[in-house]
């Protein structure tokens, strides 16, 4: 039983560190704990300790903002969840995982994860938050997505929401440039949720250099040019007609 006691004490320490926000110390303790977990027999108590430790590990990677480490910790944790284990933190972690898949645009995996949820889990705020976000993104209700940053169910979601904002901004920019002719800079700022005009200008310069800034307005679609002779795909038509001729020749 000594291994369990040892691990439990490490876990309490880890919890304290995680609450205090000490990422480095937490990581060091977690790796000690992981070494201890190698000798764990498969008893319910041991599994519970291991699950809790790995859950804390996931939360640590989120506060650190390391997406790759997050994916790794999730992969370690998943077998414990698949075995039917579950702690109070489970829906929180599952929600974070869904957010991660959404940010990473891995929608097929996102939907596979949804299949695994029970109704009760799916109605939990931690989990329903990313589900709603995904639906809004698919339909195109971007303003709700942008406002979602205001009411995250847990501070740990903020990291993913911020990440998502960038993706959403790109999508909005894609939509705006085909559906508007011109737009006031002020309106564009509110639509894309930029705080200052400068931020918007920087974004335009960085990612959208084909947008034309004319005083107070942004111009997306340059006036259509007159048709030219080069618009007629003459070479293509000729080759097509020639190929018809050769094929017909072959038939007759």
């Amino acid at each position: 039983m000594s291994s369990l006691e040892n691990a439990t004490s490490l876990l309490t320490k880890l919890k304290g560190l995680a609450d205090a926000g000490d990422v480095e110390g937490g990581k060091a303790t977690l790796s000690q704990l992981k070494i201890a977990m190698l000798d764990f027999p498969s008893s319910p108590e041991h599994t519970k300790v291991a699950t809790e430790a790995l859950e804390l590990g996931v939360l640590l990677t989120v506060s650190e903002g390391d997406l790759d480490a997050f994916a790794r910790s999730m992969a370690q944790l998943k077998p414990y969840y698949a075995g039917g284990g579950g702690t109070a933190q489970k829906s929180h972690i599952l929600g974070l995982n869904l957010m991660y898949l959404l940010v990473d645009n891995r929608l097929s995996e996102f939907h596979s994860e949804l299949e695994l949820l029970t109704d009760q889990e799916a109605s939990n705020t931690f989990v329903s938050f990313p589900i709603n976000l995904e639906r809004q993104l698919m339909v195109g209700i971007y303003d709700e997505v942008l406002n979602a940053g205001m009411n995250v169910p847990d501070p740990s979601y903020q990291f993913f929401v911020d990440n998502l904002l960038q993706t959403v901004r790109d999508s909005i920019a894609d939509c705006v440039e085909v559906s508007y002719k011109t737009m006031k800079i002020k309106d564009a700022m509110t639509m894309m949720k930029f705080d200052t005009q400068k931020a918007l200008m920087e974004y335009v310069q960085e990612c959208r250099d084909d947008w034309i800034v004319e005083g107070e307005t942004l111009c997306f679609q340059p006036p259509p040019m007159g048709s030219k002779a080069s618009d007629i795909p003459s070479m293509k038509l000729i080759s097509q007609s020639l190929s018809y001729a050769t094929e017909m020749e072959r038939i007759v």
Partner: protein, 531 residues
């Protein structure tokens, strides 16, 4: 999934059944119980049966095939069998001193409690006259009888007994296979292939029973065992077990909603080409389901429609309904509206009615109506396992609604769009319209200041390159079809020479004729002109 359990019968099999009936009449001996008769028939088919050697029907080189066909015909005999019938057949057919004694004891043990069994010794003289099966078919009949008994126990809801028996049956058959693998050089090594269909059948029954048992520990142990069995089946080139086990594993994973795992299994295994049509249908259904859950709608669509095409038309209604409703949803998710007659086909009308309502809501393009319909049917959809797929449809509803508005109005305020589609606000509507424009659903411009959408005038299609391209696509298709047809033609050797000579001769003749005619014509023309 009991509805998928019974393999559909084919016409040829029915005919064979009739043949069997005739043969039995010819025998004119006291009628044998159907199970025993079927067992003896298999013995003859497999080339055994020393007592009536002259009546050997056929000798096949592929015993697996023989057993597969025989299983189809024997299903008539096994239909009404009871536990007593089975154990009686076992006592008559299986030699207690032979290698199948284990199965005999097993089969008898199941009924021992219910019927007072004769003393072993008293039976023996009776056996002598009937004769046990020879070594050519005893293993097969043993496996068959065990599988029948498993099915009966399962029907009587004795799941744990059925499971134990199925497990023992698999062990017995596996034991035979291993034994014959050891003496691969002798005759028995070759004939082990006849056990494959029976083993596959046993695996299927075991999974069926395990599903009814609904015990996670059993399911976990089976998963490992099935993977091992699949491995062995591949090594033995056992097509029946390979196909059956892949399907069973996919089914197990899908029942547990392990879509990622199922996808990995799908990607890393090859389904045998020569598997039976029924297994292929199931495989197509499972792969369609996995792909639809993973948003790969195009491939899901092709798999499911192929599955429906291959599925038997006279039986397996439950299976066809399951495939059909999945196909409807996939079509809706792809932005297509399924044909109306799909919902009205025979036997499916009632089952598909919720999906008809959903389809109508999608067509209408009103989010409010759609959510209402889904809420009404929610328990039904969860039962069908389609609820998560249906909830993805909201996007298509909005698209359909927008398209409708787009064709009816040339200019519409954003607030109206929001009201019509059931969106939360005009701002949301603005984003939704913008996204639709980008996705190519609409051709319109948004005016932000005045908050309205202006549809673009319809462009004259004939002023664009579109018709030329459509024409090219069709011509290209016709030309490839022609070329493929030419390539696929077969020519008898040297036949062209005759034709060549004939045509050469003809041409010369025709040329001569023509020249004469032409000369005459020319002369006439000239004369006319001069006149």
């Amino acid at each position: 999934m009991a509805k998928k359990e019974d393999p559909p019968k084919k016409d040829s099999e029915k005919k064979e059944e009739k043949d069997k009936g005739k043969k039995e009449e010819e025998n004119a001996a006291p009628p044998l119980p159907p199970l025993e008769a079927a067992g003896r028939r298999l013995e003859r088919l497999l080339g055994g049966g020393l007592s009536d050697k002259d009546r050997t029907l056929h000798t096949y080189s592929n015993p697996g095939k023989v057993v597969r066909r025989w299983l189809g015909t024997a299903s008539g005999a096994s239909g009404g069998a009871t536990l007593e019938d089975i154990s009686a057949a076992a006592t008559k057919l299986l030699d207690p001193a032979g290698r199948c004694s284990a199965g005999r004891v097993l089969l008898k043990a199941e009924t021992a409690a219910e019927t007072a069994m004769d003393v072993e010794g008293a039976e023996t003289p009776k056996m002598k006259e009937a004769g046990y099966l020879s070594s050519s078919a005893d293993r097969e009949v043993e496996g068959w009888l065990i599988s029948l008994m498993v099915r009966l126990l399962w029907k009587d809801n004795k799941f744990s007994e059925a499971f134990a028996l199925a497990q023992k049956g698999i062990d017995i058959l596996m034991g035979y296979l291993n034994a014959s693998a050891l003496k691969i050089t002798s005759m028995s090594g070759v004939s082990a292939a006849s056990l494959y269909p029976l083993l596959a059948r046993m695996f299927r029954f075991r999974s069926l029973v395990a599903e009814s048992l609904n015990d996670p520990a059993v399911a976990a142990s089976l998963r490992q065992d099935m993977a091992r069995g699949q491995n062995m089946a591949c090594l033995r080139r056992d097509v029946d077990c390979q196909a059956t086990l892949i399907n069973l594993m996919l089914q197990d994973l899908l029942n547990n909603a392990q879509v990622e795992q199922a996808q990995k299994l799908l990607a890393n295994s090859t389904f045998p080409d020569s598997a039976s049509n029924n297994q292929l249908c199931r495989y197509l259904y499972y792969s369609g389901r996995i792909q639809s859950l993973r948003l790969e709608y195009t491939s899901a669509f092709s798999n499911l429609s192929q599955c429906l095409r291959k599925a038997p038309t006279n039986t397996g209604l439950g299976f066809r309904i399951a495939a059909q409703r999945l196909l409807i949803i996939v079509q809706l998710l792809m932005g297509e509206i399924p044909d109306r007659h799909v919902f009205l086909s025979k036997g499916m009308k009632r089952e598909l009615s919720p999906y008809l309502a959903i389809t109508q809501a999608v067509r209408q393009g009103d989010l409010g109506v759609f959510h209402q319909v889904v809420a009404e049917q929610v328990t039904r959809l969860q039962q069908d396992g389609t609820h998560t797929l249906i909830s993805r449809l909201a996007q298509q509803v909005v698209k359909a609604g927008l398209r409708k508005l787009h064709v009816s109005y040339s200019r519409l305020s954003l607030q109206d769009v929001a009201d019509r589609l059931g969106l939360p606000s005009a701002t949301s509507a603005e984003f939704v319209v913008a996204k639709a424009v980008r996705d190519g659903v609409l051709d319109a411009t948004i005016h932000h200041e005045e908050a309205y959408v202006q549809s673009h005038d319809l462009v004259d299609v004939y002023a664009t390159k579109e018709p030329a391209e459509a024409f090219h696509r069709r011509i290209a298709y016709c030309l490839t079809t022609h070329n493929d047809a030419v390539r696929a033609m077969r020519y008898p050797p040297d036949a062209y020479k005759k034709q060549l000579e004939a045509s050469r001769g003809n041409r010369r003749k025709r040329n001569d004729d023509k020249t004469d005619e032409e000369k005459a014509q020319e002369l006439e023309d000239e004369l006319d002109e001069f006149d």
